[in-house]
Symmetry: C2
DNA sequence: CTGTTAGCGCTTTCAT
DNA sequence: ATGAAAGCGCTAACAG
């Protein structure tokens, strides 16, 4: 049962006493220091096990100046981005080596400040700040006494270190895939123009089309990040430009709507028209009919790199400044390539 | 920029020196103890602010025996359940008062053990264990020295304290809604029979049907938790039982598939047939056409209660044992009720 | 190889 | 009202 321990937690002193040595020796024995006789170490280890001794990380941290903890401060309410990033960070840190405080600021600057203070008070060794869009976010400033890496949303200050998906590259990658599939009349439906993600992907789309000697069919269609918009835009598109053979959508949600409407209007996917999205949100991409080709932002990789940077900075290495872009990964499914 | 502090962090000693008092007095002043002259307190507070002093929570925790941290140990890879639970917990704890370590065991018992040891070593005040299904999970056993609450997945040991969605009640609630909408020929498509969530919801469905003097149309259709199954099952259903006027689906994903196929077969939703799901996963429910009625499991509430229990246990209160069920909440949308 | 000592930053008696 | 001192659990220097 979940009981509040009435007895004091077992300490190194208890172990030392049981093993019949001093705490110092016990400490050395358990930490693999080499000035300990094998038989002594043996005794200490056994004593520790018998008492199920678990060293107090607070005491250790207090002394070492390092706590082995990292703060992940997010505003991503759904956890769509932060969970893969957390997993990547855990990978990089090694499970159990480093523990991660996850704080959700819910897009509220005040709450963010609270959490920030708390994390610094707990002497985290580093911070990873996860935004919910790829638009630059306000910097925490230069006075944070630990390494900070901004993930997903870059910092708006050039001296900070940020890591964000390469949406322009992803846009290019998408078009290159469609072109490789033989598509030449490509339209682009996307989300809100206010989002850098939408604009950047669109820019990449244009680049790649130009490079392929093609032109976008119609204008980039900006509106909301929703299935509804995907449906509505697709209806308009197929009406005005019946010749299109590919609809590139700015998100998987939009793509789901496009797929839906294409079917409703009697177009076969991918035979008549290819459809693809961005984000590779599995619940959407692998459940549609056909399954949806998408660009995965490699967030787990992003999280891993962010964590490695924090570590590197801790070790005194220079991790530089500015924003680094993480490549996306094309995930091909049935909505752009006919089933074999 | 994110720099590793070259200078030592500012300590209470620094503050005391600047204020011209002893550390003891500084401590009292900052912690609102009442044996301090107002003018002295003033000076100390100012000094602390000037130095942007942030008390070392490790040192404090070492002394107090409480750390103000809680471990959230999950195996919910997508974060679908754990994020609302985390938010609920943060609500209950108060942002900044308590910090939450989030660890993802990824369904791996070894990794779970690693994380558990790490968390206990960091002297968390309590643990919330979040499973990814509502089936009972192995207990961590009686020897955890801090309060443990199992959330979402209950523990398989009766002496543990668990909190899980009331799926039976949710099944009942769903049927009651459909009946209230005038539906009488109701079918039930759901996920894998191996999942307690599927079986429990189905049991509730049967209860409520019986109570209403109705019978399920056909058998409960168990298979996978996917849109594909929703589509396939719906096709079979409409073929074999064209008279049905409601399809209750075991998840929103299945419901999306059902919606899709109902349309494809020329049935109007909700006029000819009502469709509803469970989970209220917004990306699915609010983007479909029509939007999907669903039962929300109130996970944020669940997280809040779990956190409150941990706290209560810490304060020495008896939080009892066994599993408590959290009521779901009906969210009515257009798939069961025609738009006004 | 082992033990003694000091001290990480803080709170809390207990004197003054 | 203030300060000196002890100690939370641990590790690192230094002595022996």
């Amino acid at each position: 049962m979940a009981r509040t321990d009435p007895a004091r937690a077992v300490t190194l002193t208890d172990v030392a006493r049981l093993a019949g040595v001093s705490v110092a020796t016990a400490s050395k024995a358990l930490n693999g220091r080499d000035q300990v006789k094998d038989s002594t170490r043996q005794r200490v280890v056994e004593a520790a096990e018998r008492l199920s001794f678990s060293p107090n990380a607070l005491a250790r941290g207090l002394l070492a100046g390092r706590t082995g903890t990292v703060g992940l401060l997010t505003s991503d309410l759904e956890g769509r981005f932060v969970i893969p990033i957390l997993m990547g960070a855990e990978d990089a840190f090694g499970a159990g080596q480093v523990s991660v405080f996850l704080c959700d600021a819910r897009g509220d600057a005040i709450r963010e400040q609270y959490h920030l203070r708390a994390l610094l008070g707990r002497r985290v060794d580093g911070l990873i700040i996860v935004g919910r869009q790829t638009d630059p976010r306000p910097s925490l400033g230069p006075d944070i006494p630990v390494p900070v890496v901004y993930a997903y949303a870059p910092s708006d200050h050039p001296d900070d270190r940020s890591l964000t998906p390469d949406n322009t590259g992803a846009g290019r990658m998408a078009v290159e895939h469609l072109v490789a599939c033989g598509r030449t009349r490509i339209a682009h439906i996307t989300g809100e123009h206010a989002y850098a993600a939408a604009r950047d992907r669109a820019a990449g789309v244009r680049d790649a089309l130009t490079a392929a000697g093609l032109e976008l069919v119609g204008d980039v269609m900006y509106s909301e990040w929703s299935e509804r918009w995907g449906r509505d835009a697709t209806a308009m598109l197929l009406e005005q430009h019946p010749e299109i053979d590919a609809i590139l959508c700015g998100s998987d949600q939009i793509a789901r709507g496009a797929l839906d409407m294409a079917h409703a209007l009697g177009r076969s996917v991918p035979d008549d028209v290819a459809v693809m999205g961005f984000d590779n949100w599995e619940v959407l991409t692998t459940n549609s009919r056909p399954e949806l080709t998408s660009i995965d932002a490699n967030l787990q990789q992003l999280g891993r790199t962010a964590a490695q940077w924090v570590f590197a900075a801790l070790d005194g290495k220079d991790i530089g400044t500015g924003t680094q872009f993480v490549d996306g990964r094309l995930v091909i499914r049935g909505s752009t390539v006919a089933r074999r």
